[in-house]
């Protein structure tokens, strides 16, 4: 991100970064940056807080009004935003634990409710329907892998199917609203769903695969602290 700032400024555009990792900004010295105290993936703060999002944007743009003979790095004016768990949050259905596909079938109506409530979905980069995405991963290493439409390499399809499965479950988890923390949602997904277990096992196989492309995506499937190999120490 800081590299882009250097290139854009050099081309004649005024830039400001909304920065999540302060140390990276200090190291790469873009002309102007506002450090914000939010978790990675949320540069403008928690979802649904339009006022806070606007304040972040306004404070970032206000840096353009300050002289910056040297790289300018300011902290967002409010560091008091705490990440709290929602003690009342529960996944709004009982999961079928007979198989990953059965579990996904049970999640489908919940996900549809979530889509209706949120008004959109971030699902859809694999080109597979949710249950098909689960089946694709489940059968990936079997003697009879699932046949898929052309247009994407097999390994890429697996990576994006896994991204979609995560979106499918985590969107469904918000079907009844609430304010669960990211940690709460991820604890649930990785610790209490067959889909999470399926992806972790897939990641473990990919990590030691002789298929270099599969090995390459292994690091993009499961957060490092939630992989089987890390948890086993």
């Amino acid at each position: 991100m800081s590299g882009l700032a250097h290139y854009f400024e050099d081309e004649g555009l005024a830039t400001v970064i909304v920065a999540l990792v302060r140390e990276h900004i200090v190291s790469m010295r873009p002309p102007r940056a506002l450090w914000v105290p939010f978790e990675l993936g949320r540069p403008f703060g928690p979802p649904g807080n339009a006022g806070l999002q606007r304040r972040v944007l306004s404070e970032a743009l206000a840096l353009l009004d300050q002289a910056c003979p040297e790289p300018l790095l300011r902290d967002f004016s409010d560091e008091s935003i705490e990440i709290m768990d929602d003690a009342d949050w529960r996944f709004p259905a009982t999961l079928d634990s007979s198989s990953p596909r059965a579990e996904a079938t049970g999640v489908l109506p919940v996900w549809q409710l979530a889509r209706a409530r949120i008004g959109r979905s971030s699902y859809g980069i694999s080109g597979l329907a949710p249950e098909a995405a689960v089946e694709y991963i489940e059968r990936y290493h079997s003697p009879q892998p699932m046949r898929i439409p052309k247009g994407m390499a097999k390994v890429s399809r697996a990576r994006f199917a896994i991204d979609d499965i995560k979106a499918f479950y985590l969107e469904a988890a918000m079907a009844e609203g609430g304010h669960p923390s990211t940690r709460q949602l991820l604890d649930w997904f990785w610790g209490h769903t067959l889909a999470g277990a399926l992806i972790r096992e897939f990641q473990e196989t990919a990590r030691v695969s002789e298929d270099s492309n599969l090995e390459l995506i292994a690091g993009s499937l499961v957060p490092a602290g939630r992989t089987i190999s890390f948890l086993r120490g």
Binding site: F44, V56, R120
Partner: protein, 153 residues
């Protein structure tokens, strides 16, 4: 929250080890006055539009998000598992605050919100983005954009 020291291991080491090449200080452009600011957002979330090919790791190109694209057609194809996506799943503005930018335009805090915003793949090493970044910079200038808010994930 996100000082490196606050991030638990092993993610902390992963993030600390990210490629941060050294740059000479770039002389900052003299910014336009607030009323003259024509502002675009450039994200590194690897956004694609529904139906497009997802961005791959180390991809150097960028994608455009036009004003008439619905929020539901904006997908995130970044490869990293280190950042939260649940916020974005509930509210696009967590990563791409284009509604907030339009509000700033309406209240007169900026001159204009750009019609198009852009996304790169943040997992790509910054020097590899240089050619496409410069190309995009010139393209934005040609469209009248003079100010860029850079939004990482």
């Amino acid at each position: 929250m996100v000082r490196l020291a606050d991030i638990p291991e092993p993610e902390r080491t992963v993030i600390a080890d990210l490629d941060c090449p050294a740059y000479e200080d770039t002389p900052p452009v003299k910014p336009p006055s607030p009323a003259e600011r024509h502002v675009a957002i450039v994200s590194t979330a690897g956004f694609i539009l529904r139906g497009e090919r997802p961005m791959l790791s180390n991809e150097t190109g960028y994608r455009a998000i036009e004003a008439d694209v619905e929020d539901g057609d904006i997908l995130c194809s970044h490869v990293s598992t280190n950042f939260d996506r649940t916020g974005f799943q509930q509210d696009v503005n967590v990563m791409l605050p284009r509604e907030r930018l339009l509000e700033l335009e309406r209240e007169g805090s900026i001159g204009k919100a750009a019609d198009t915003h852009y996304a790169f793949m943040g997992a790509t090493s910054p020097p590899k983005l240089e050619d496409k970044a410069r190309e995009l910079g010139r393209s934005m200038l040609a469209l009248g954009v003079n100010t860029v808010v850079l939004a990482p994930v």
